[in-house]
Symmetry: C2
Subunit: 385 residues, 2 copies
């Protein structure tokens, strides 16, 4: 039938357009990777971390628990290495790299050997490659250095920013939605289940299992959502994020159920001010054009909380986010990461009293030319339900 | 009120009983670990893989994507090493190991240094420890060898078997349930969503994102469940598992929608026979008391499929399962793993024709004294819906 044929034609054209755009995006990433390889005076890099492989290939089906693929790139070649389970799927989706299928009797080492003579200095991910893998690579290359894809990844493209912002929007909607479900007797797991249902109904998924902590559980920064039921007077800490086309969001809000004591209000206020101080500090640095490290920002919030007589934050002030919930840059006491335009990261101070409770407020920000842009928008007014 | 107090009392008693049982279970694991350390002439082991840390501690809240904990065990000490984010939660749940909190300025290395003088030979997980971590460990220890927890893990205790069998039962129920939902026009993602809903309603979760593959997608062994919609005459491949108290199940069934050609029926029959041949071979070896390796069993099914003129299986015949979907032993062409009593593994032959379709049948088996016991029970009759 004619109409059907027209649709098919359009379908094919769209398919080709989408593929061309996708390919261009990934080719540009590989181009930047090659620039970095040159800059670091390497001849090739051997990439093993699953999220970096996702970043460089767009192929998101490899297991994070197993070693199913590598990416091997030099100035004149670029391979995605995987096995028979994946080669069909990779052929359909990855056009900008050559597929090298390592079968039962065909090892990655064959490929390494083939390029041996052109490679004096090889880059590996020291924080990802295992000792066993390193032993195999070392057989073929003498000069092996650490190479990091994280700096490349930390500065986001416009497409990436859009995905993260969409994920933030869904997180905001989920927060609005869940406020109505918070009632005496509900369990942490039930709230997490409702959140997940909502996020799925919006066509996406959690970027990590949501942390729902009631009462004294809120004092455990990485509390495992459990069967605790909500009582009057409980603190409710919600730490959640969505994932849009593999790009993550992350946000924390702390609310008070039934009542909030003066002490709790004070803690809330200090946490909020600590976040604001960090933002103001960073904005002033951006405006003056001075370089600023993750450690410097971390210090501002940390010192402010301590100056008010509260215990030190038992975690980093913040973290970059993208394909992974936690990625470069780090806003922590020892972080030398320079914060740059296009980076997206959390600022999330917290005050915790073991066996009593805790307050954390977390938002995501994009570092723009003229200052920070907050991209999570749920209210930070003190909420008493 | 009195009644409430009685409940509280019972609650406490149950709590204490459960804790004592849990502690005994984990103490026995550490005892076995120490035996293995002695046997391998090591003085201590430094464990970094998250699933092994879960296995040895029972603490399941560490992220698999980040390095948040280690376990360090010698004959006279046993530590769980983590940071401030987790120490409260670990204190509440892990009683059989000493908590070592590494703060911002307190590195794991301090602990390694402390035990340096008593440790001549240290075991590490070469297939898990990263090059960067190894460099730090190497500063303190000269003799470092590979150590594997997987042999310890592969032989399951009665408690572990019960959890895996429960997970299999839920998988079987999910398969029965989903047959009713398979209709023209439904998408792979919708079927996966229905499966997940069912599994969650049964109080558990997926052990991995279910693979739902329609038509030619079934030719991709690790197909990423997508938006393809079901048509008459399609093959439907379902690969799914549940997780009960962190123990996994895994099963694959292939069914025919609308019709099945003679060729498809023949392929199905050969895959089923390949599985049966492997089971019979293994049973005969168990009865004769001969040692048998994963490679020997893999070969039986693989050769059978090839002898019938079909392409070689592009993946392993099977894999152990437990806290992880894929663990020791491996039933693959190169596997020297000896199959032993108490091991649980899959046997999953498959025949695939790229761009046409594939058939895989997968079941889990426990190796018992008198032979294999199949623990997934969904029908393997050829189903045409």
């Amino acid at each position: 039938m004619k109409i059907r044929k027209m649709q098919e034609f359009h379908g094919t054209r769209d398919f080709i357009t989408v593929h061309a755009t996708m390919s261009a995006m990934f080719e540009s990433k590989i181009k930047k990777l090659k620039e970095q390889i040159r800059k670091e005076k390497l001849d090739a890099v051997f990439i093993s971390s699953v999220s970096n492989i996702e970043y460089l290939t767009g192929f998101t089906n490899f297991s994070k628990d197993e070693r199913e693929a590598y990416v091997f790139v030099g100035q004149d070649f670029g391979y995605i290495i995987t096995d028979g389970r994946y080669s069909e799927a990779v052929k359909d989706k990855v056009f900008h790299l050559t597929l090298f299928e390592r079968g039962h009797n065909k090892l990655t080492e064959e490929l390494l050997k083939k390029h041996k003579k052109d490679i004096k200095n090889l880059g590996i991910e020291e924080d990802n490659l295992t000792v066993a893998e390193f032993k195999k690579v070392k057989k073929h290359f003498k000069n092996i250095k650490h190479f990091s894809v994280s700096h490349l990844r930390s500065v986001k493209t416009q497409e990436e920013l859009e995905k993260i912002e969409k994920a933030c929007q869904i997180g905001d909607l989920a927060f609005d939605y869940i406020l109505k479900k918070i009632k005496v007797g509900v369990s942490e797991k039930e709230i997490a289940g409702e959140l997940e249902k909502f996020i799925k109904e919006n066509g996406t998924e959690f970027s990590f299992p949501a942390i729902v902590a009631f009462g004294k559980n809120s004092s455990v920064p990485h509390h495992q959502t459990g069967s605790t039921r909500l009582k009057d007077g409980d603190i409710v800490l919600l730490d959640l994020g969505a994932k849009v086309e593999n790009y993550c969001s992350d946000m924390t809000r702390t609310i008070f159920f039934g009542e909030s004591s003066d002490k709790q209000k004070e803690i809330y206020q200090v946490v909020l001010e600590a976040q604001q101080k960090a933002v103001e500090f960073l904005n002033s640095k951006i405006k003056s054009g001075e370089k600023v490290t993750g450690a410097e920002v971390d210090k501002i919030a940390r010192e402010y909380i301590k100056s008010k007589g509260f215990p030190d934050i038992p975690h980093s002030l913040g973290h970059g986010i993208g394909l992974e919930v936690h990625e470069h840059p780090s806003l922590s006491p020892k972080s030398k990461d320079i914060l740059k335009e296009g980076m997206v990261f959390s600022i999330e101070p917290g005050i915790y009293f073991p066996d009593f409770g805790g307050v954390r407020i977390e938002d995501l920000f994009v570092l723009q030319k003229d200052g920070l842009k907050q991209i999570t928008h749920s209210s930070k007014e003190l909420i008493v339900l």
